[in-house]
Symmetry: D2
Subunit: 305 residues, 4 copies
């Protein structure tokens, strides 16, 4: 089995390494020649100096796996690939695309006879050693072709990957996975802040998170990582209180709105990240102004700061 991997960043690069360990031949391309050379030397990946060149090194059915930023870069690459590929070939989007885009792209490629698979990929930097969790949307035919690749990326040949449904359903499932991840993370963060806030008990958060890893109801892989991090530092005074968010958290909330499903925990987990990003606090300023207007409550002025 041979495939082309386009995009050799943090995720794509490690996926190449894991595929190579699994005996899969990989032709790799990245905008950075240095990255290509490094992976070629290290893993026996076959180097390509362009996407077209990568495609040329494949034989039918040609499989091109994209690990690109979602949005315009993925869109452009799929459009370009359509001119290089033939009926029966397969494009895989392993990035974090919106599932509506994947459905549209899958249908567009299908009109050209080209197969499409959307693979939601979880595992982060730990995927190289632990294997990736792969949520796959595709036709049965495409999924069958891709099976050996999925087995090599997954933690075991028979677990950690699944063909969950038609094109789009892989990215949909990954989107919800990330929504849940937001909710779980916020739950831990709120709880730990309350532990820390109870100053009279002077609790050791590293001790407690380690403790909870064993037989508690809240044990999880996220807790394992959190406990490990807190062993090194639980003051966190050199970590800024700003939390980035990504498309999938946002799309999950929009999906809930569109389905008419109450998802307050997933929503608030996102919105609390927004508060962390807010440099202005306009709503807060308004509230302070209103309180002054009706109650004569003092307003904290920023003057003189």
């Amino acid at each position: 089995m041979r495939l082309a991997m386009i995009g050799l960043g943090k995720m794509g690069g490690n996926m190449v390494r894991r595929l190579r360990r699994g005996g899969i031949e990989v032709v790799g391309f990245d905008r950075s020649t240095e990255v290509v050379n490094q992976l070629t030397t290290e893993s026996g990946m076959l180097a390509a100096d362009s996407v077209a060149n990568a495609v040329m090194q494949l034989s039918s059915p040609r499989v091109v796996w994209l690990m690109l930023p979602s949005g315009a870069p993925t869109e452009q690459q799929i459009t370009d690939l359509a001119t290089m590929l033939s009926p029966g070939d397969i494009v895989v989007d392993g990035g974090n695309s919106n599932y509506h885009d994947s459905q549209r792209r899958g249908a567009w490629l299908a009109e050209r006879g080209i197969g499409f698979m959307d693979s939601g990929t979880s595992g982060g930097v730990w995927g190289l050693d632990n294997g990736y969790c792969l949520m796959v949307g595709a036709t049965a035919e495409v999924a069958a072709v891709m099976k050996p690749v999925l087995q090599a990326l997954a933690p075991e040949p028979d677990r950690g990957w699944a063909h969950v449904g038609p094109v789009g359903s892989g990215h949909f499932t990954k989107m919800i996975h990330n929504g849940i991840e937001y909710g779980m993370m916020q739950a831990y963060a709120e709880g730990l802040e309350l532990l820390r806030g109870k100053e009279e008990f002077n609790l050791d958060l590293a001790q407690i998170t380690e403790l909870w890893r064993h037989s508690s109801v809240v044990r999880s892989w996220l807790l394992d990582l959190t406990a490990e991090a807190l062993k090194h530092d639980q003051v966190l005074d050199n970590i800024a209180p700003v939390v980035a968010d990504s498309g999938e958290g946002r799309w999950t909330v929009v999906e809930a709105v569109e389905q008419g499903v109450a998802a307050p925990v997933l929503t608030l987990a996102l919105q609390m990240r927004y508060t962390s990003q807010d440099q202005i606090g306009y709503a807060h300023r308004l509230l302070s102004t209103m309180r002054n207007a009706f109650g004569g409550h003092a307003v904290t002025s920023t003057k003189g700061k």
Copy 2:
């Protein structure tokens, strides 16, 4: 009708003025002699130089109205008053006490034959001219004695005041009133922030809030005040994005927990104020740490700042 008013601050002082306009005799005491003198001169209030002295200037049944900070100051004053008053006298707590405290204090005074009325008082700095909205908890007998006072404080003799139930129910009703106030304020603040955030429309928030005052579904007194404030300044860059909260917002949320009632809007309105007060952002720091731990996502460092 004559009563003693203890505590002549922002609320108590204006209430004396309105009572005097209504022909009620008031004996006033405040820790600040200056405040007492000012009100005496201005309104014809009778001055007292101690609570005991104020009580001595009353005749049976003696009515002492407290406008003190909730918690210890009110608690202490009621305890002290019990030694100065006789069966048939009446203590009124017009401050923002927790209704559980008012129930307890009412029962304690009742054991001594002293009547108690809890008067939740809304109206802020506008109450002097507009009248106060008074939510009163008391026995029928006590409420009957207090009726002329309530009529003088209210906007009209027949509206803006009500005997809503037994002792405690006045402060309970005021607590819920404030909970609703939090929710309404947050609703406006979120909406206005979204108007402002739509930069391509370059909306004039003073124009829109003024517009909404006329025939829209969201018109309200809070909107009147907000529109007025935004006419003078809608940038708000010299107002700090920090919003204070008071006991009643907190107690409302606890009440909802205890009743087993979902009150997410009242709760989140409070919690958003908490985020405005949070100088550390520990939960955010934790989340950023977790993201780094599982995904290798960059952490914004505060080093070098």
Copy 3:
């Protein structure tokens, strides 16, 4: 001034009546001939038996005001109108369209030389007598043509209507208005449920809402209506606990997600309506299943029901 009104339902019909009172000539069309005849007789509206016929009864610049359900009906009508109108004519969408649609439609009509105005219209069934609150997006030229119409619909010629910005901004402002409305309504509903839930006080919600109308901080037009409704019935046992939602509440939440603004109160107000609509409670069933799985907690079975 003469215009055509297309769609004479609850809102459109009353707007015709108010325009007629203001001396504006109106050519009216509705799918229901009966409705057209009734309004013609009652208000002196000129009847049309088709949209084309309505357009024919206008002179340049022809103004066609749509009061149609948002989505497909409005879309189709605007597409059709484009073939009947000429450069310089004006289409007004007074319905509850998504502002993105209005921006798109405005641009599409502008390519054909046809003006467009989006008018967010608040006031409900009370608009006929009180006047409507009109939030208008348009070019300065279009707004100038429409001014007499807006003045007739508004509560007063100089208030209750405003040209807030470019095409799309009227519907945007109305969307946010409705988002705030959701939040305010939920705030009142939560507070009143807590008043009712305090059974020992046996509070009279009609009394308290009436009380709050006078000088309280939470007084508003929504409260006026609520107090009036509760006078007739505060048990509400023949009102189903199901609350519909409309596009604008949903779009506001999506807008907040897209702006990256935390709007928990507007969001939860929507999501609580979703819970009221949920006939299945799948998430609740899952939670009950989980509790059983880890703790052996009893599950309430529906068997035998």
Copy 4:
């Protein structure tokens, strides 16, 4: 090491079994003689026919471990025990008491020279085989005495138990643990409901939860149990959509209010359980009434149902 175990229900009974496996001598008492006899036969527990009798079978320092319902039963038992124990003896509360109660009881017992340990105990029905996660608040002296017992209950002698701080801190830590548990559960439930709600994908929730157990970011013990349960039934039509809540979830929310910490996810997880328990939906009825009042929107009547 020998101790008395009072309360041999679902948790207490299994803890006796695990202690016996670890070679700890246990004198057991329960209101049910049948339960006492069963455990005596099965595990070699020593039977007691009253608490006093259990205490008599101990030697100094006597250790009495309570596994009783929180609130009045635990309170009463501790009060009673104080008359049976001597200075140097130890009472352990292994139930789900409020930490404020534990602090008060610990201080009260300390005045009598009796030691107290609050042990928050997680693990549910799985604790017997997997060991319990024990969060312990006590003085260093009391914790030292209890160490062999904790080691026998925990999954391993060196993990799954910890002396986290002074009296009260064990139950505090367990309270927060449960708060986090609520949040995590709600996050999974919301996500799974959204997976199910995307009907066009016809997703198999048993497949997806099993898939996520391997290398995904959301893997956890709760997910393990959920996946196992969904294998047997993912329709859940014989599980009622009603979710019970317990003291600890509520206390966590109150703690957040008191600390002034925004904990929206833990709070909403609780409040969504409340919505599942709400048989009346008064807030929803109010909202429906308001919509009718201002907009003439149809109200769903329950008449004739």
